[in-house]
Every structure is written in structure tokens, then in C-alpha cells.
């Protein structure tokens, strides 16, 4: 059993240390994810963020590690909370978490039509936070810090080939996350705000 599995067992048993550990590990990503999905509304983000953690605690028994990583499950809860907010569902109380199902197989972001009021950049930032941390870091180094593959490789003690491979996978994951929001045309990426009449899904 690796540390993750052991931690999950402890979470299921409402082990205080385990919850403190998992909270400290993911709090910034979860908050950032929510923050961007609500368009940078600090107050709303904080409210929803707290709901995410309390909902996770109440629903931990239904987390299935076979279905994916805990972090993804947590982000799924965050996505669900934001969706509920945009759908106008009362966000008070923890509610049932059973309808989340296997959130991992669905888009990592709320349905596009719910994000129409959010800046395109925020959607991308949210998707970035939804990425595997290794993927996110390499993309940030490459495209925000403008580091070369060689520099990244030296910085993290890996081979340039490994970094190239990591970058490729990171781009693929990001593109996958953003696919419902941007259509890929020969003319480039096109942001498609939601059609309010389109059924939600």
C-alpha cells in the first residue's frame, strides 16, 4: 500500500491528521480552481471552496480510488459546486454527493454554458489548475517563464527528452480539458461562449 492508499484509508476513518494533510496538500489548487471558475470573485470563491471540503468529508465513503486520483475527485466536487452555483441551486448544506458519480470521466470544468460570464483567461487558468501538477508546472515554465526545454530539464534533474515528452502530454491534457470550450479550427482556437438555449450537460 502506498502513502496515498494509506492516507485514503485514514480519510475514510475521519482521521484528523489525514484530513489536515490532504487539506494542506490541495487547498491552493482547489481554491484557485474555484476562484477562476467563478471569475475571480474572491468572496464567492471562498464560500464555495469551504463547501467543497465539507462535502468531501461527508462524501469520502463514496470515493472510489479505482476510478481515479483523490485530487481529481476533489476537483470534481469543486466543479460540481460551481455548477450548482451557476444553475442557481442553493448552495447551503452539504446536500447529496451521490449524484456526482464518477466525476473523473466527465469534463474537468463546469458545462460551457455555465461559464459564459467568465473571462476566457479564467477558464484557461481553471483548466491549468485542474491539470496534473507536473503537467501544469512544465507548461508554466515553458510558456509563462519562457524557459527552454534544456533549462527546465536542468532545473528538475531530468533529461530534455523526458521534458519534451512531459510537455506533449501536458498539452494534450490541457487541450482535452478545454475541448468543450474551444473548438479547434484551421484558423486557430475559437472561444465559444455557451448558447443559453442549449441543453445543459
Amino acid at each position: 500500500m502506498n502513502d496515498e492508499r494509506r492516507l485514503l484509508r485514514a480519510l475514510a476513518k475521519r482521521d484528523r491528521t489525514a484530513w489536515a494533510t490532504i487539506y494542506d496538500r490541495h487547498v491552493r489548487d482547489v481554491f484557485g480552481f474555484v476562484y477562476h471558475l467563478v471569475g475571480g470573485d474572491q468572496s464567492l470563491a471562498e464560500d464555495l471552496h469551504q463547501e467543497v471540503w465539507l462535502a468531501a468529508l461527508e462524501g469520502i465513503d463514496r470515493y472510489d480510488r479505482q476510478a481515479g486520483r483523490f485530487r481529481d475527485w476533489l476537483m470534481g466536487i469543486a466543479r460540481h459546486r460551481v455548477s450548482r452555483h451557476f444553475r442557481g441551486v442553493s448552495s447551503t448544506g452539504t446536500g447529496s454527493i451521490f449524484d456526482w458519480g464518477v466525476v473523473l470521466g466527465t469534463s474537468g470544468l463546469p458545462p460551457p454554458e455555465q461559464l459564459e460570464s467568465i473571462e476566457r483567461a479564467d477558464v484557461i487558468r481553471a483548466a491549468m489548475l485542474r491539470l496534473n501538477p507536473d503537467h501544469r508546472d512544465v507548461l508554466l515554465k515553458k510558456y509563462v517563464e519562457d524557459a527552454s526545454v534544456l533549462e527546465i530539464a536542468r532545473g528538475c534533474g531530468r533529461s530534455p527528452k523526458a521534458i519534451e515528452s512531459l510537455l506533449t502530454r501536458a498539452r494534450e491534457q490541457l487541450r482535452e480539458l478545454l475541448r468543450p470550450y474551444f473548438s479547434h479550427t484551421n484558423q486557430g482556437i475559437r472561444y465559444e461562449p455557451a448558447d443559453p438555449k442549449r441543453p445543459q450537460g
Partner: protein, 572 residues
């Protein structure tokens, strides 16, 4: 790697454009918010799960999930219900007797069985602050837990991996479980119980009746509880009590999706560790076990002193005569030390006493009790220490002094409040008590507060017995006393100090390189294990740099001896 195609390059440019547009996605969280959510989360974690919630969720959960949760809470719920039932019905009758009867048990063993072949056994010991649990799926062992709350160590065996994991220093968990035990204790002190311990459940109906089965009469209490939130599901309970002992025999909990039955047993002893719960000796320990912390070790020593089986012990020094034998009693946190003298007071009788054979057993020692008179030396009644100082009878001229000690003719009783912490009294004859000798109280002999000592811990010492940690204790200012300890402790043997070394430092030689003037070493060369699984010394080798030759102290413990409370009452 394939050379990138124009499309690949275009894709990359697109991604670059997105990310450049979005910038750094990381958000600086407000520390106050992070702390507030953390606090809210951990506060919620600390709350016990509420059975009513578990039952509500069974609607959409696989069959038995709610019941499985009830398994986890079975012990606590059962305990809690004692109070609930008692207070909502008749404070002075049957339930008070049940509560008291449970309180008097060293161990409560509960076998819980339910649907889907899921079985669980639990052991609760309020006395030792231990919770142990073993779960099966059908005939298959699933997992096993041994939670030593007082030591703050929880071990868990995962059957599918044949591996043991250990959690330590989780003060949150410890506090939570201590609270559970406290609730248990509170419930059994029925007068202090005021409100229902089961959140969101109320008592709907309650009755009791006598049932005669195969000639034996049982008292059966029947209760209906209802959740006050959610679906407001009903839970019916039926508790069968032996009216003679006041102890529950079975407890059925019937919910919408099945029935759980708890069967109670009351053994004198309980499991000592995971192995005693059926974990195979081949189980591997997680190599990433957290290292022992200093607090953990100090607490382990303390718990080793205060937690032990009741006993009657015989303590003597090898090559000594029976007159050097001492008899020591322990019951809970009470002790009594007795010295001995020959029953026959003639000179011949004294001389012909042989040294106690090295291989003598308990039965042999008990036989020789007839040759001896036991005289009380000290009694600790749990609050006050009473010394009994013997004075020799007036000597007849020309008689050897040994004869003059034939009987006590006067006793001086000195009562003094015991030093140390209330839950860890500093008993002044530690070498007579195996549990104290095996768990030295560093601060005890010097009477200085333990807080003044400086401690350090070496988790992988290069000396001392194998598998031990080395604790070093030094008093920063009180030179000249026994102020320098090195103790080698085996955490796997209830923190027994397999070797302890005390150094005296010459205050006048403080500035010298080696001011040590005297080294006293105790080595536990043979060990025993009590019925409840606590290790203790049976043979201790003592070396001193001041004295020539070693001294060996032996202990023989009788855990089956009758130990009346009157032994610990001060002699008037």
C-alpha cells in the same frame, strides 16, 4: 522522438497563446480563509459520525453501508445508550445496576454480527484505555486495529497486504477517542449524564419484561429510537440483561435494512497487541513507520508505570536469605510493600535458612511463606503514602542483634502526600516494583519537576540492547545528584527500559572533562509478560562503579492472587 510536423508546431503555438493569455494560474489564498476552512473541516472531522445519517444514506447506498457504519460505532453507541435509556426511564433501578456492572469489568468484549457476512469483534478497556477491533468478511480476516489511546499509538493490520501500519502523535485522533472513552465512562456514572449522547435521535418507546428461557430468567429492555432529522428512520433495540450480574448479554439493533446483533463477554484479560488479535507473525511492518518522538517515548515510560496488571510480587536479591524477601502488592494505582522476617526467632532457625534457590518458582515461594512473617513497610492508598518504620525491641544484654529484630514493637506512621503528577505518582521504592523499575521516572528520584529536565532521543543508537531507542536526560543545574540518565527503551515491549544508566556528577568537578564519579547500571536480563500483555522484568542485573560485584534482583509475580482492597488501607 519524431520531428514535429507543421500541425504540431501550430498546436504548440495555440497552447502557448492560451497560457500566455491566462498567465500564472496560481492564486494566493488569503491565510485567514485557509485557516478558517481548515479549522471548520477539522472540527467537523472530530465530530463522531451520527448513526442517523448513516441510516439515511442507505437509500442510495449499497445494502449494508449504513449498517457497516453502525459497526464502527457499535461500541460507543451501545455504551451511549446505557445513559440514554437510563436517564429517560428510571435513574435508580435496573439500568444503574447495569452501568455499574459494566464499569467494574476490566474488559468488555463485543461480538457484532450483521448481514453480508460482515462480522466484527471489539474490545474496550476503560481501565487500560485501549480499543481493539477485528473485522471479518465471512471467514476471511479483513483488518485489525489496536488503538492504545493512552500511549497515542494506533496500529492497523491490513490483511490483503499482510502488513502492519502505525500511526502516532495524532493528538486529534487521540483526543477524539479519549472523548469517546470519556463518554463511555461518563455514561457509566449515571448521575452525571444529562442529555442524549446520540445526536438527532429521540426515544420513542421503552419497555421491559422478564423472559424465562431454559429455566433462566433474563431482563429484556426494548427501545425505539427515531431520528429527528432526515428520513426520521426508526431503530429498534432489544437488550437482554442477566439480572444476577447486571451485565448485558445481547443487544440487537434493528434498522430498515437489516439487523445487527451485539453479543457481550467479560473476560478478565484482553488482547495485548495485534498478534493477540490473530494477526499472523509473518505480517510485515511498514518500513515507513514514523520514528518515535521524544514525547512519545516519555509518555510510553509514564504509561508503562501507571498501566499494569494487578499482582502480588515476590522480590529478592540472589544469594540472599528469605529474610531479604519482600512481598509487593499492586491493585490499580495502589501499592503495598512488605518486608519479611523468619517466623521462628531462634538463632538456629535464622542460620539454617538457605539462600533462595535461583530456579524457585511461584509455588515454591508460596510454600516458604509459612516460614515467614510479613510486615508492612509502606502502603500507598492511591492518595497518601504511609510508611511504617520498625523499631527493634529493647535488646537483652549479650544477644545477637539479629535476634532483636524478631518482631516489631513499635510503628511510626508517617503520612505524606505523594509527589509527582496525580496520574503518575512518584512512588519512592521503584526498585521493588517491576513496572516502575522497567519504566524509570527520571524526575522521580530527585523530586525535581520533570519539566526542568533536558531530554534528547537517539532513535538508532550504536550501543545498548538491540531494537532499542536511547533516551538521554540531563538536569541542567542540579549537579551532584543523579542528574544524568541514559535509558535504552524497547518501544515494541511497552516501552520497557531494557537498560538504564544513572551517572552521578561531582559538582566540584563541573568544569572538568569527565566529572562523573559514579555510574549505576541496571540491565533487564530476563522478562515476563503479564496476562494483559505488558512486559516486565523478572531478573535485573545491577552494576555499580562504586561496588565490587554485581547484584541480581529477581521478581516472581502472581497475577492470580486474591488482592483484597483492605491491603491498601492504612494501618491504624
Amino acid at each position: 522522438m519524431n520531428r514535429p510536423t507543421p500541425n504540431d508546431r501550430k498546436d504548440e503555438e495555440e497552447i502557448r497563446g492560451w497560457i500566455a493569455e491566462a498567465g500564472d494560474c496560481r492564486v494566493e489564498t488569503r491565510p485567514e480563509h485557509v485557516d478558517r476552512v481548515r479549522h471548520a473541516l477539522l472540527e467537523r472531522v472530530a465530530l463522531p459520525r451520527e448513526p442517523v445519517i448513516a441510516l439515511d444514506e442507505t437509500e442510495s447506498a449499497p445494502l449494508g453501508i449504513g449498517l457497516i457504519r453502525l459497526f464502527g460505532l457499535a461500541c460507543l453507541v451501545a455504551a451511549a445508550l446505557f445513559g440514554a435509556v437510563h436517564f429517560s426511564s428510571r435513574p435508580a433501578d435496573g439500568w444503574a445496576a447495569v452501568a455499574q456492572a459494566l464499569h467494574d469489568q476490566s474488559w468488555i468484549h463485543i461480538v457484532t454480527s450483521g448481514p453480508e457476512g460482515l462480522d466484527e469483534e471489539s474490545w474496550i478497556s476503560p481501565r487500560f484505555e485501549v480499543l481493539a477491533r477485528k473485522r471479518h468478511r465471512g471467514a476471511e480476516l479483513w483488518d485489525v486495529e489496536f488503538d492504545d489511546i493512552e500511549r497515542g499509538v494506533k496500529e492497523e493490520y491490513i490483511a490483503e497486504e499482510n502488513k502492519i501500519y502505525r500511526d502516532m502523535n495524532d493528538h486529534g485522533r487521540r483526543n477524539r477517542q479519549a472523548q469517546e472513552l470519556e463518554i463511555f465512562g461518563q455514561l457509566l456514572q449515571v448521575e452525571s449524564f444529562k442529555t442524549s449522547p446520540i445526536p438527532d435521535m429521540e426515544l420513542i418507546a421503552e419497555s421491559h419484561r422478564d423472559v424465562i428461557e431454559r429455566g433462566k430468567t433474563w431482563k429484556v429492555y426494548e427501545l425505539t429510537l427515531r431520528g429527528v432529522v432526515g428520513k426520521k428512520l426508526d431503530v429498534k433495540m432489544s437488550i437482554r440483561v442477566d439480572p444476577k450480574t447486571g451485565l448485558p448479554q445481547t443487544w440487537n439493533i434493528e434498522a430498515e435494512d437489516g439487523t445487527i446483533q451485539l453479543t457481550f463477554h467479560y473476560p478478565a484479560t484482553g488482547p495485548a497487541d495485534l498478534l493477540a488479535l490473530g494477526v499472523p507473525a509473518t505480517a510485515k511492518r511498514d518500513s515507513s513507520l514514523p520514528e518515535e518522538s521524544l514525547d512519545q517515548v516519555l509518555n510510553g515510560l509514564k504509561v508503562g508505570r501507571t498501566r499494569f496488571d494487578d499482582y502480588c510480587a515476590y522480590v529478592w536479591t540472589e544469594s540472599a536469605t528469605p529474610a531479604d524477601l519482600r512481598r509487593v502488592w499492586r491493585k490499580g494505582q495502589k501499592w503495598r510493600v512488605e518486608n519479611t522476617s523468619p517466623r521462628s526467632t531462634t538463632k538456629d532457625a535464622m542460620i539454617r535458612h538457605d539462600p533462595i534457590p535461583i530456579d524457585i518458582d511461584l509455588a515454591g515461594l508460596k510454600q516458604r511463606e509459612n516460614e515467614l512473617v510479613f510486615e508492612t513497610e509502606a502502603v500507598f492508598d492511591g492518595v497518601t503514602l504511609w510508611y511504617y518504620q520498625s523499631k527493634p525491641k529493647a535488646t537483652d544484654p549479650g544477644q545477637p542483634s539479629v535476634v532483636e529484630r524478631k518482631r516489631i514493637i513499635a510503628q511510626q506512621i508517617i503520612a505524606q502526600q505523594i509527589d509527582g503528577m496525580p496520574d503518575d505518582p512518584s512512588i519512592p521504592w521503584p526498585d521493588m516494583l517491576p513496572e516502575l523499575l522497567g519504566h524509570p521516572d527520571v524526575a522521580g528520584p530527585t523530586r525535581f519537576s520533570a519539566r526542568l529536565w533536558e531530554y534528547s532521543l537517539e532513535t538508532k543508537p550504536d550501543d545498548g540492547p538491540s531494537s532499542t531507542l536511547r533516551l538521554h536526560a540531563r538536569h541542567p543545574t542540579r549537579h551532584g545528584l543523579y542528574d544524568n540518565y541514559r535509558i535504552w527503551i524497547d518501544p515494541e515491549k511497552n516501552y520497557l527500559a531494557l537498560q538504564a544508566e544513572i551517572r552521578a556528577i561531582d559538582p566540584a568537578a563541573r568544569s572538568e572533562t569527565n566529572p562523573v564519579v559514579h555510574v549505576d547500571t541496571k540491565i533487564l536480563t530476563e522478562l515476563g509478560r503479564s496476562p494483559n500483555g505488558f512486559w516486565y522484568p523478572t531478573r535485573v542485573l545491577r552494576k555499580s562503579s562504586k561496588n565490587k560485584g554485581d547484584r541480581v534482583t529477581r521478581f516472581l509475580l502472581d497475577f492470580q492472587a486474591a488482592i483484597p482492597d483492605a491491603l491498601f488501607e492504612p494501618i491504624k
